[in-house]
Symmetry: C2
Subunit: 457 residues, 2 copies
């Protein structure tokens, strides 16, 4: 069988693949720190050279920040774009590392062998799984596994300032049939998964005002309007007793979870007690009629992220303050429109203002909608089968409660869906000291891509 030869090649050449990853990990490509600008360029050049050796027409494209690596190669019906990022997080606090973050090493741990280095999991180890799969395929078949564009960013850890302009300027070149993004992980560290739903986000900050100045509660308490009371009443009213958001129209554009996904999620047997227990909680606190996975993956939220007002120092001051402040954000799903949600929130809050009160809104009305991939595209089911084959257990379509901005940008600027597949684990300590990537993740990650590409090309 075709794929067996490729998989065998992957197994046989794992030591060499590891050597290449180690070489890339030795380049301290920290994108936020200008001191490492040359290192970022060096990492990009290293990748361009490696891609060229596989037959990609590759270049390091200049940006106002760090270069984008772009490579094109292969032939086939479906054009796939692979995304990863070669930049890494800073290493502070350096004293908490057991070894030099840029002197990678293979280490034995009670849970197995790991590759220890900054960027091993986020995202150099992950992006190399794809490149190594291409390399093995090329060796066995003499060609790349389909029509491929490789697109590697160097600013992901510093807010991707050049990404949107680069997508807009190179729209024709970068548009493909489907994007593959390798920057996520296995579900609960074990279940192979394709992330097909990402929640969006809308943010709001306001100041609620009453009197023209702070008042003494002896002279005014009980008579004058206290904006802290008005604000707490508004914020407390954001949810009803069932945990549902009360803003009119909030759920208008929220779709119910498709039955197929609901069944998959149920089969994941998500251990919410452990997930909550890890942070000192025991019970789900969201919508009463939703499962914990729905709460974080497929249901919208309204959360107060910060509030303040009055006297907050040591001791006491019996003040009725002139102002109260809050920051509120909304995680969005399905077709919820950030502008519509924020406008509805403002209208709802202002409708509750008693006499003598006003609200100043500090944010623009903007935000990012949810990303919901078209899993009816057979490519998703094909990739899921490939992952199931490799890992020996059913792979799942899962959601993610937070945003992975690049997936939304691909959709918005290139009109392209994305399949998010990764092999990281929760204990990889990305962004923290002693980052690692399991050798198993690297090895089976490479094999996973070979299987996926065999089905998608």
């Amino acid at each position: 069988m075709t794929i067996d030869a490729v998989l065998s090649r992957i197994d046989e050449t794992l030591p060499q693949a590891l050597d290449r990853l180690m070489a890339l990990l030795r380049i301290p490509s920290i994108s936020t720190d200008p001191a490492y600008k040359a290192d970022c360029a060096r990492a990009a050049d290293w990748l361009v050279e490696d891609l060229a050796s596989l037959g990609f027409r590759a270049r390091a494209a200049k940006t106002p920040g760090h270069p984008m690596v772009v490579g094109h190669g292969g032939d086939g019906g479906r054009h796939l774009l692979f995304y990863g990022h070669y930049d890494v997080q800073p290493v502070d606090p350096i004293e908490l590392w057991d070894r030099d973050p840029f002197d990678p090493a293979l280490q034995d741990t009670p849970k197995g062998r790991v590759i220890r280095a900054r960027g091993s999991s986020d995202d150099k180890g992950q992006l190399m799984t794809f490149i190594e799969a291409c390399r093995a395929w090329k060796h066995v078949h003499g060609t790349l596994p389909g029509k491929l564009t490789i697109f590697l960013e160097g600013e992901e850890e510093s807010g991707s300032p050049s990404l949107i302009p680069f997508l807009e300027e190179n729209r024709a070149e970068l548009s493909a049939d489907l994007a593959l993004i390798c920057d996520t992980g296995l579900f609960e560290g074990a279940v192979p998964a394709i992330t097909t739903m990402l929640r969006g986000l809308a943010k709001s900050e306001f100041t609620l005002r009453a009197a023209a100045r702070d008042l003494h509660s002896g002279m005014y308490g009980g008579l004058a309007r206290n904006p802290l009371h008005v604000m707490t009443a508004i914020l407390a009213g954001l949810h009803d007793e069932q945990g549902r958001v009360t803003i009119p129209g909030f759920y208008d554009d929220v779709a119910e979870l498709p039955d197929a996904l609901r069944q998959q999620w149920q089969s994941l047997a998500f251990d919410h007690a452990r997930y909550l227990g890890d942070v000192g909680l025991s019970l789900p606190a969201g919508e009463a009629d939703r499962t914990p996975l729905e709460m974080i993956w497929s249901r919208p939220t309204a959360e107060v992220n910060g509030l303040w007002g009055g006297y907050t120092g040591a001791g006491f001051k019996t003040v009725l303050p002139a102002e109260a402040h809050a920051k509120v954000s909304f995680r969005l799903v399905s077709n919820q429109d950030p502008e519509k949600i924020l406008t509805a929130f403002r209208r709802w809050a202002e409708a509750q203002l008693p006499a003598d009160c006003s609200i100043d809104w500090h944010d623009e009305i903007e935000g990012s909608p949810a990303s919901v991939m078209a899993i009816t595209d057979p490519a998703f089911e094909a990739a899921r089968q490939a992952l199931s084959d490799e890992w020996g257990r059913p792979a799942a379509f899962i959601g993610a409660g937070g945003s992975i901005p690049v997936a939304g940008y691909f959709k918005t600027y290139l009109g392209m869906d994305a399949m998010l597949i990764g092999f990281g684990r929760d204990d990889d300590k990305i962004h923290s000291p002693n980052e690692k990537y399991d050798l198993e993740s690297f090895h089976h990650g490479i094999r996973s891509w070979a299987r996926i590409l065999a089905r998608l090309r």
Copy 2:
């Protein structure tokens, strides 16, 4: 008539009385600043000498801080204790003064002549009204107007740290039938008034906790308990839609306003629109079925004085914080017991805590009850008549929304009611630059005490 001779003497010797007040005002007796310690002692000595010249057995009693001036004199059935304070507020910001705060001057203003100096209204000018009344009486009758103790504090503006120990140590010497306190003002700057109700105060500060650490709203939003939501729900529930406090038992010990007081307060025709308009408000925001004066004088309150939690800096952080914080105070009336109220508040708040949440209380359960004077004592009506005679309009028994601690201390430590009578006006700028005391307040204040003492002795 006896009183006419005294009043004439007061009128004739007003210039000399003013000279004496000026001499006292020249002493910069700022009690909070150790640099003025000798000046505080000098002010005390000046008062001792002046009291001695009127036949008082007077002394400056040492304390760990500034001296207490105590003088005894006269004879009579009812023993009266007069309280005032000779210390003054600091003068910062000094650049906003039109003249040296300790170089007093008589100035003509569109509203009449004023004595301009730090302490002119708070409280040297006021305390001297009583001493000058005694002086005129002594000149006319050869004796003091009744059995009097004069008690002048030098630490009122710095929190009265020596007061309670001094009252406890000198209980026998300082106990009298009734205290007269001259440290308040005319109602709305015009109506002579005796303050007979002072609200008490109880304070509470708490931290409400949920998760063991701050959580990312992408990973936990919608699933995990947000303590900011729990706190706003509790605080928003402090009042019902009618503005009443909802804590069970909160109103148990609140007496209704006696009809006689209600009628007096109505006759004051309190201009609440102006009172609120001065601070940028237009409508009363308290209990729907109470008048504005009741709201600030005779009704208890629950007010959030400060709250904070989550991310409060610039920009945004989509955090579900581990903690939320609030400071809440209660103005108390009638027989409300601070301990009972705070205990009920804690129990009420804790009963609303959902799973996984806890509250840490940061304050001791303590506070000060309201002071409600026994106006059935005929002395109150007698003093009210005297004030009405002097000012040519009905004097009123009024309340005060804030605390005047010494009144409570006299009750608690000496078992003595107090009559709070003063002649300050709202525009006296006490505690601020350019403090003044109207010459009319000083002159009619002296005459007022003469009339009151004639009726009370």
